[in-house]
């Protein structure tokens, strides 16, 4: 099913854009930098054409998608999480090609500060699109009778946490994001660039909680999983690596 997304609803907060630009929370921000972010948001308002798609899948079907072409790490995180999920759905969303074109044009004009700010704003808006699709799926799951209490829907994407990026091919083969204008290159690169895809996992906070002790965690530069798990509140389930030991 296609999902209704609006640029207004997905508009990122300036503090999140600043965070994406490497500015720590609470750090003093110059007037010049604040103006850059404001201008980037105004440009994003007019350039973004967000569209999204969700398709609920069974655990069995998702297992095939996750298997992909067999290039995953030995223990992809999502492989541990999805069997204990309340429900699953594949998803994709895009802001459309206009945002990337605007970034490219700014670079060509020598406006790198604004180009980078617009790119950061667009990345945050794409993240917000995932969150919006998760909210849509939450309503769907609750409508199907799942308990709303302690129900969290989070997105997990190929290219992260042991799920090889080549998994995009299997995901696209099942979801067909081409219907909302996203295509996939041979290298698993999505076009337009400001697009997101993956699986939405619905479950309790414990469902989403794991120890960051997988082999690939040591080389991870992201670590946003820790903050994401913390935002769900204290949970009892501390993940697969401990279970295996």
């Amino acid at each position: 099913m296609t999902a209704s997304l609006s640029a207004t609803d997905l508009r990122p907060e300036p503090r999140h854009i600043l965070g994406a630009l490497g500015v720590p929370p609470g750090a003093p921000v110059s007037d010049r930098l604040a103006q850059l972010v404001d201008t980037a948001l105004t440009m994003l308002d007019s350039a973004a054409r967000p569209r999204g798609i969700i398709e609920p899948v069974s655990a069995e079907s998702f297992a095939d998608v996750l298997r992909g072409s067999g290039q995953n790490a030995e223990d992809p995180v999502v492989g541990w999480l999805y069997p204990r999920a309340e429900a699953l759905a594949l998803f994709a969303a895009t802001l459309g090609p206009e945002v990337t074109s605007a970034v490219d044009e700014l670079f060509a004009l020598g406006e790198a500060p604004l180009a980078v700010s617009l790119d950061a704003a667009a990345s945050r808006m794409a993240d917000n699109a995932t969150t919006a699709l998760a909210a849509t799926f939450t309503s769907h799951v609750v409508g199907q009778g799942a308990p709303a209490e302690d129900l969290h829907v989070l997105g997990y994407s190929p290219g992260y946490c042991g799920w090889h990026v080549s998994g995009q091919h299997a995901l696209f083969g099942r979801l067909h994001p081409e219907t909302i204008g996203i295509t996939l290159g041979d290298s698993a690169l999505m076009h337009p660039l400001k697009s997101v895809s993956g699986v939405l996992i619905a479950g309790s906070a414990a469902t989403h909680t794991f120890e960051t002790g997988f082999t690939y965690c040591s080389s991870c530069k992201d670590r946003s999983c820790v903050a994401r798990m913390s935002s769900l509140g204290p949970t009892a389930n501390l993940g697969p690596p401990a279970e295996r030991n």
Binding site: L33, G110, A112
Partner: protein, 212 residues
């Protein structure tokens, strides 16, 4: 505050609108283009780079300073003999075949230009041989490659291999960066250097050029 100090501090503030007039004023005062470049612009950028490493300023501040530097360099360039400044070195940059992400690569190019390098930007989705051909054509010191996907990172090894096959190792050094990269992976791919971010790339490129 002397005029040259004013140029350096205005650059640090990222005030590109004020730079042309200040630069012209410095020329009118009799300062040479090289003095303005070294003691004003590069000195200012060096401070910005240090403050970035110390988390006192952030990426957009660095880019604003780089834009201010360009505004000044545009005024200075015609005053150099032959209309061109001597470069600190030449770097060929590109995002490797199969990948269209170019923000990081663009930042590296801007910052290298800011500290005096000549940058030949090949863009995105660049075939391996094109990196080497450009390096030969422009007599480059360094080839810089960017990738954001694990599927495209191996292309970097192809570039390193061609450089080796053509007997250019040592003459043309290589540096890699991007989300899937690490120092270990860079070593596995045979690259001479790895950088985590754009300011780090500038440091590594300077080291590579100095070590030639």
């Amino acid at each position: 505050m002397t005029l040259i100090d004013k140029i350096a501090t205005t650059l640090q503030a990222g005030d590109d609108a004020a730079m042309p007039a200040l630069t012209r004023a410095a020329l009118d005062e009799g300062l040479t283009p090289q003095e303005i470049l070294d003691r004003g612009l590069i000195a200012g950028m060096t401070v910005v780079g240090r403050r970035f490493r110390d988390f006192e300023v952030f990426l957009p501040d660095v880019l604003l300073a780089a834009r201010a530097m360009k505004a000044a360099v545009d005024v200075l360039s015609p005053h150099f003999i032959g209309g061109e400044m001597s470069a600190a070195g030449t770097v060929v940059l590109g995002t490797v075949r199969g990948d269209l992400h170019d923000i990081g690569k663009n930042l590296v190019g801007i910052m290298l230009t800011g500290v005096g390098f000549k940058v030949v930007d090949l863009g995105t989705d660049v075939p391996p041989q094109a990196f080497v051909d450009a390096a030969v054509e422009h007599e480059a010191d360094v080839v810089g490659m960017s990738a954001l996907l694990t599927t495209t990172a191996p292309v970097m090894a192809e570039v390193v291999g061609i450089i080796r096959e053509q007997g250019l190792s040592g003459k043309v050094r290589t540096i890699v960066g991007g989300a899937p990269m690490s120092a270990d992976l860079a070593e596995q791919l045979g690259a001479d250097a790895y950088a985590f971010d754009a300011p780090g790339a500038v440091d590594r490129v300077q080291e590579l050029v100095a070590s030639k």
